[in-house]
């Protein structure tokens, strides 16, 4: 049952939550994924766990709004509050199923840049990797989340903060990083999968003009039927239950 009225970022949270499968250990970072994990564990993935690079491990939503993974509601009644090496050890030994990543720029192979971008002559410094490079290299699969803006989709990212798939179509076969690499990209207008290491259109958000949306990419984006992944669908709207949860976890709509 879909709700009548929702914000674009509420749909992104819903779509991101759908990428967490029950039983998954999810590596959760800043912003929207903070809400998405809480939605997933409250709905279809009750046996999922979240690990945060600060050292927190949780098996349920926080009982209060969280700006950051270290806000006290996220620490209170956690399963474990330990250190980063404990969390990164799980990641490096292959025990993290899915990780979330944002980016200022992404290319067709899922390489992400959060370090520095060009704007005309000027080079703008961004905050940097944080744990993103590590998640990109070592999570079982990654889900990329970003606003749908044409300047973010580039033929070549200015700096590979978080490596994606190899550019020779070999997926990660020839790539030194042990993780599975990008599995999905969720923007504010559509969702994409990866086949043979390259992006393809999976679903278009309700009300979005498909052709205009695809025109934001500097390359011809492949579609699901072209890579044998069924038809391009319409992204499901957030359910009423999901919207309720999102508005409980983010009551002032700060992140959404």
């Amino acid at each position: 049952m879909a709700s009548e009225a929702y914000a674009p970022r509420e749909l992104m949270v819903s779509a991101a939550a759908a990428e967490i499968e029950d039983g998954d250990t999810a590596f959760v970072g800043m912003r929207l994924p903070l809400i998405a994990f809480q939605v997933a564990v409250s709905t279809h993935a009750p046996d999922s766990m979240a690990v945060y690079e600060s050292g927190v491990v949780r098996d349920g939503p926080a009982d209060g709004f969280i700006h950051t993974m270290c806000d006290l509601p996220n620490l209170n009644r956690a399963v474990s509050t330990t250190g980063m090496l404990d969390i990164m050890s799980r990641l490096q030994r292959g025990d993290v199923d899915v990780g979330f990543l944002g980016g200022a720029e992404v290319d067709r192979y899922g390489n992400l840049n959060t370090t520095r971008v060009r704007a005309g002559d000027r080079e703008i410094r961004l905050p940097g990797s944080g744990g993103a490079c590590d998640i990109a290299c070592m999570a079982g699969r990654t889900v990329l989340l970003m606003p749908h803006e044409s300047r973010r989709f580039v033929e070549e990212v200015n700096y590979v903060t978080s490596p994606g798939h190899a550019d020779d179509g070999s997926g990660r076969e020839n790539h030194p990083a042990p993780g599975g690499g990008p599995d999905a990209l969720v923007t504010s207008k559509a969702t994409f999968g990866f086949a043979d290491g390259e992006l393809f259109l999976r679903s278009v958000h309700p009300g979005v003009d498909r052709e205009a949306m695809l025109a934001d990419f500097p390359w011809e984006v492949r579609t699901a039927p072209e890579v044998g992944e069924g038809p391009v669908t319409t992204t499901p709207e957030p359910t009423a239950e999901e919207l309720d949860l999102i508005r409980t976890f983010d009551p002032d709509g700060f992140w959404t």
Partner: protein
Amino acid sequence: MSAESSESLSDAVSRIPPGSSVATGLALEHAIPFAAGHELARQGVDDLTLIGPISDLLFDQLIGCGAVSRVRAAWVGNVSAGTGYRFREAVENDEIDVENHSNFSIALALRAGALGVPFLPTRSLLGSDVFAESDCFEAGTDPFGGEEVAYVPAIEPDWAIVHAQRASPEGDVHLWGNTGIVGPAVGAAENVLVTAEEVVDPETIHSDPSRTAITREQVSAVVECPWGAHPSPVAGHYNRDNEYYLRYHGATDTQAAFDEWADEWVYGVDDREEYMRGVDADLSITEPTVAAEVRYGQ
């Protein structure tokens, strides 16, 4: 036991000379030693190399205060709002040198220092520009299975600054809630400054030795400093002052604006007590959770 057996924050910070490398903000967004950081700025300690995983605001503030010449970190900004303008501008104007890390590479570098080995191997980094554009790391080959790995060299900071819930005057420290890379950094550092919400009787520490995260021989100074991590949260003590981060973001997009901010919040106060008089948010813990009892004995 009161803090009288420990020195003042100002005395403790005065032992950190200009040009030092300082690891701090080690528990990520939790328990960031803002009080000690502001005291560094007030004392004009400069030419610092700041080391940390992510820095939620503190590095940006110290850069804005002109205290920093180099940053070795994975992320510098404002976790509530994104960009840290003082960091961004300083990098873009080539005023500071940045060694880009991932969270794991900075953790491993400090862990190598703590462990007393020159480097540690990792399966991360490879394929990224964090690795390729840096002269910090080396590629290596696992001598057992032939796998490609990256080598991360040890970092041994001159100082680590840590905020904790309670410490004995001798420097044995209980801390809880997430700890990020406090452990590796304390092990790797030449000196450690601990600011604590409470300086307690040694018997309190001895009653729960498995809670002890730092022991005295690693510690150069212990200072009682209630609210010493504001606006960041401290488990069991106070919540995060989210609005403060947002206001900072809105108020520091130019150096002139930052200077005004710093005049009020850093240079305009003598100490933490005066600083806290300027904070009117209610950050108190209204739903306390008491840890289940644990016994030792014999």
